[in-house]
């Protein structure tokens, strides 16, 4: 008999159906991964198990934990189970901890709540040691803001497992973390499952994260479980077309045309940018944070260059400096030997596509006005029919309709908005485009379409771009050459395939090893004959 049995769980919030007849089981010591794109209902399933649903949610079906139906339990009994028999970890470690209480107090609270006689402090110390925060280095008196994101996630895990619950639910526990930290947290969770014999439900949008550690996978879409099965079996057979689509989109490879012979377009020479830190002590001089430390590189005309690195490595500062949004203290940025800066002549030759499909447009303007904003850089911007022609051309190029020009941005989906962002970058025919985490906020299926679009544009317009991302697999598929950045410096650069297959720098090796990878099943697939 299973630890957790969900039987035909349906859920509605107001009149919107969220879950439809979801049935799942978890055994003790088993890791069940629930995966799917945004809106698939995977997080709501987790909240339903914890019985922490938002107001106005109504459910049918049963959720049995050790044979007790949670949907029928009164609130006080649920409180006694939460944190004790079942624990939960959330996505955003930066906000999941109470900022005004110490970490020791927050971990001890779980223990004291369920066992008032326990020596909560000693137990908290033990459990924090178990999750990798030894009290000699991380005293219980630390506040959350004194810890990094990965360390905070460890505290959240400590709180969730302090009472050795039978079931642990982790909702996107590593999505907000860097790849190397992600690998550590996943290893920690796996170790805890083995030690405690817990059942673990791991919710993630990233198939690659779970392929490695999950015993079983459930794929969800639009509130339904479309396919479930043991990890290897499921990945090998992939009965449902949606599972196949997800898998293919995750490992999507685009077809880039060959770059033209190299002639330099943009040259960055010995660039420095530092920020003053607030003083930590009254009479000591303020510290200084060197975001970019002497970076030099060249982008060739027609080349697709990648820039990868973890958060805080300086890639955003570098991007902003190239765009003229930051003034470097030292060094030069030359576009065909002209210094880039406030000079509109150089600036009109570069454009950018940002990450957030929701934040990159003024919600009050129509698409036509949004995408023609770069015309401001031209001395004689087109008007009348020429303007309409340019708008239509840009929209068509990114796979939208010329009619879309009169609509407002909220009428478009995330993927469409990213297309509009690319149209805005294309409209003045720049020589260089910067993609700043341009596909990071998108679901895998949409991401694959945008990457295809970028490859198409390379063929028709001969684009030159710098593709900045933390996602190694994406960079690998859309660039010819790649640079790896760490702590403000470029520590390795070379042809993309060479760097990925034969990294020279230890940090690059570490990054590549930490990155979750999907098993290469293409061979088995074609030999399977069942499709």
């Amino acid at each position: 008999m299973s630890l957790l049995e969900i039987d035909r769980l349906s859920l509605q919030i107001g009149n919107a159906p969220i879950l439809k007849e979801v049935s799942l089981t978890v055994d003790p010591g088993e890791i069940l991964a629930i995966t799917g794109e945004s809106g698939s209902g995977k997080s709501m399933t987790a909240l339903a198990i914890m019985q922490l649903l938002p107001r106005g949610a109504r459910s049918t079906g049963t959720i049995r934990l050790s044979a007790t139906d949670l949907t029928a339990l009164p609130e006080p009994e649920l409180c006694a189970l939460r944190g004790n028999e079942m624990g939960m970890i959330f996505q955003e470690p930066m906000t999941a901890l109470n900022p005004v209480h110490t970490i020791g107090r927050q971990v001890a609270e779980t223990i004291r709540l369920h066992d008032p006689t326990a020596d909560a402090e000693a137990q908290a110390r033990d459990i924090l040691t178990r999750v990798g925060l030894r009290p000699d280095r991380f005293p219980l008196s630390r506040y959350p803001h004194e810890l990094s994101g990965g360390q905070r996630q460890r505290v959240v895990i400590a709180m969730a497992i302090a009472r050795h619950p039978k079931l642990l639910i982790a909702d996107e526990p590593t999505t907000a973390l860097d790849v190397t930290t992600q690998a550590q947290i996943l290893a920690l969770l796996k170790g805890l499952v083995q030690d405690f014999g817990m059942g673990l439900i791991l919710i993630t949008h990233d198939l690659a994260v779970v392929a490695d550690i999950a015993d079983r996978i459930a794929v969800m879409r639009h509130g339904e479980v479309v396919e479930t099965g043991p990890t290897w079996h499921l990945l090998r057979t992939m009965q449902h077309p949606y599972t196949r689509m997800l898998f293919e989109a995750s490992t999507h490879q685009v077809n880039l045309p060959a770059p033209p012979p190299p002639t330099p377009l943009l040259q960055v020479r010995n660039l420095h940018r530092s920020y003053r830190l607030p003083r930590t002590r009254l009479f000591s001089p303020p510290g200084q944070f060197d975001a970019v430390k002497g970076v030099s590189f060249t982008i060739m005309r027609g080349e697709r260059l990648g820039l990868v690195g973890e958060s805080g490595c300086g890639k955003s500062t570098l991007t902003r400096a190239i765009l003229g949004l930051e003034t470097p203290q030292k060094g030069q940025i030359l576009l065909d030997d002209t210094p880039v800066g406030q000079d509109p002549g150089a600036r009109r030759r570069m454009q950018v596509v940002f990450q957030d499909p929701f934040g990159s447009f003024n919600p009050r303007h129509r698409v036509a006005r949004l995408i023609t904003e770069p015309f401001h850089l031209l001395s004689a911007p087109p008007t009348g029919a020429a303007r309409a022609q340019a708008i239509a051309e840009a929209l068509t190029a990114v796979g939208l309709q010329p009619d879309d020009a009169t609509r407002y941005i909220h009428e478009f989906s995330g993927g469409q908005r990213q297309r509009i962002a690319i149209a805005r970058a294309l409209i003045i025919k720049p020589e260089l485009i910067l993609f700043d985490e341009a596909v990071s906020a998108l679901d895998v299926s949409v991401r694959a379409q945008i990457l295809d679009l970028i490859a198409d544009l390379c063929r028709t317009y001969g684009l030159t771009y710098l593709f900045v991302s933390h996602d190694l697999s994406v960079v690998r598929s859309v660039t010819d050459r790649v640079m790896v950045m760490q702590a403000g410096e470029i520590i390795e650069e070379g042809l993309t395939e060479t760097v990925f297959t034969n990294p020279q720098h230890p940090y690059t090796t570490k990054l590549l090893e930490a990155a979750p990878k999907l098993p290469d099943l293409r061979m088995q697939h074609s030999g399977d004959g069942s499709i």
């Binding site: 600036r347 009109r348 990159s360 447009f361 003024n362 009050r364 904003e373 401001h376 962002a421």
Partner: protein, 271 residues
């Protein structure tokens, strides 16, 4: 449309409408004295009674409310026209000396309670409606500067502003084209609140003789006149008092309703 918004809009519209109506019509001439007819309780001839000089209270209240609204509106205009540009400028260069200077200046103005500011100005320049407007106008400046800056700062981090900068637009240009329209919601809401507060401030200042001067009627002046007679004829105080409460409540409800209606977060949740 929420119930709050509808009630607030109706209440403000009716009361402000009555005040504006006094420009062309009042039930009686509010300046005509009729001593034999003084201190009449509400009745058929005078709907809300008469005051110690036999003047019609409804007419006085309509004209008085108009004065009070005018004082509040002018002070609001001072606050908006100075405070909003200051707030936009401060947000344009967060942490710069300009930002620091504007925010410290705001703190200093905040250290002078409104009444103290009015007293200072009155002590030197004499009591008048103009000085009351200036005092409350100055008080409004840091309020709007703060609201504008507070709304603008997160916008400067948004990618559509970065995109505009990449398009070569200056910070001042972006402030007017992108920032101002997106903080307008906040300004409308704060504007109704400060407008409502202005009604109360006029009343308080005129009540202690620092605001509107005789013979101009205002809600605060009517209450000042009523103070000594309140035991004899309570309606003298009750009518203008209720008028103040009505206008202020109407505007506050309108502000609350507008905030909910204009909040983009709530809008997204609704669609």
């Amino acid at each position: 449309m929420s119930r709050t918004l509808v009630i607030g809009a109706l209440l403000s519209a009716v009361l402000i409408g009555l005040a504006l109506l006094s420009l062309i019509w009042t039930p009686h001439d509010h300046t005509s004295l009729n001593i034999p007819n003084k201190l009449q309780p509400p009745g058929a001839a005078h709907l809300l009674g008469t005051d110690q000089l036999g003047r019609d209270i409804l007419s006085m209240t309509m004209v008085g409310a108009r004065t009070s609204l005018g004082v509040a509106l002018l002070a609001l205009a001072i606050g908006l026209s100075v405070g909003v540009p200051l707030g936009l400028a401060a947000a344009m260069h967060k942490g710069s000396w300009l930002d620091e200077a504007i925010m410290r200046g705001n703190d200093i103005v905040f250290a002078f309670p409104l009444l103290v500011m009015a007293i200072l100005i009155t002590a030197v320049f004499g009591p008048s409606a103009t000085n009351a407007i200036i005092a409350f106008g100055i008080f409004n400046i840091p309020v709007f500067a703060r609201v504008t800056r507070g709304g603008a700062l997160p916008l400067w981090e948004r990618e559509f502003i970065l995109a505009a900068r990449v398009a070569g637009k200056t910070r001042a240009h972006i402030s007017v084209e992108h920032i101002l329209p997106n903080v307008l919601n906040l300004l409308i809401v704060q504007g109704t609140i400060q407008f409502a507060l202005g009604i109360q401030v006029e009343a308080a200042l005129s009540f202690v003789g620092l605001g509107v001067q005789p013979p101009t009627p205002s809600l605060g002046r009517m209450l000042a006149d009523a103070q000594t007679l309140v035991t004899l004829a309570p309606h003298l105080a009750i009518v203008p008092g209720l008028a103040i409460i009505g206008i202020v409540m109407g505007l506050n409800l309108l502000g609350d309703g507008l905030r909910d209606a204009l909040d983009p977060r709530l809008q997204r949740a609704r669609t």
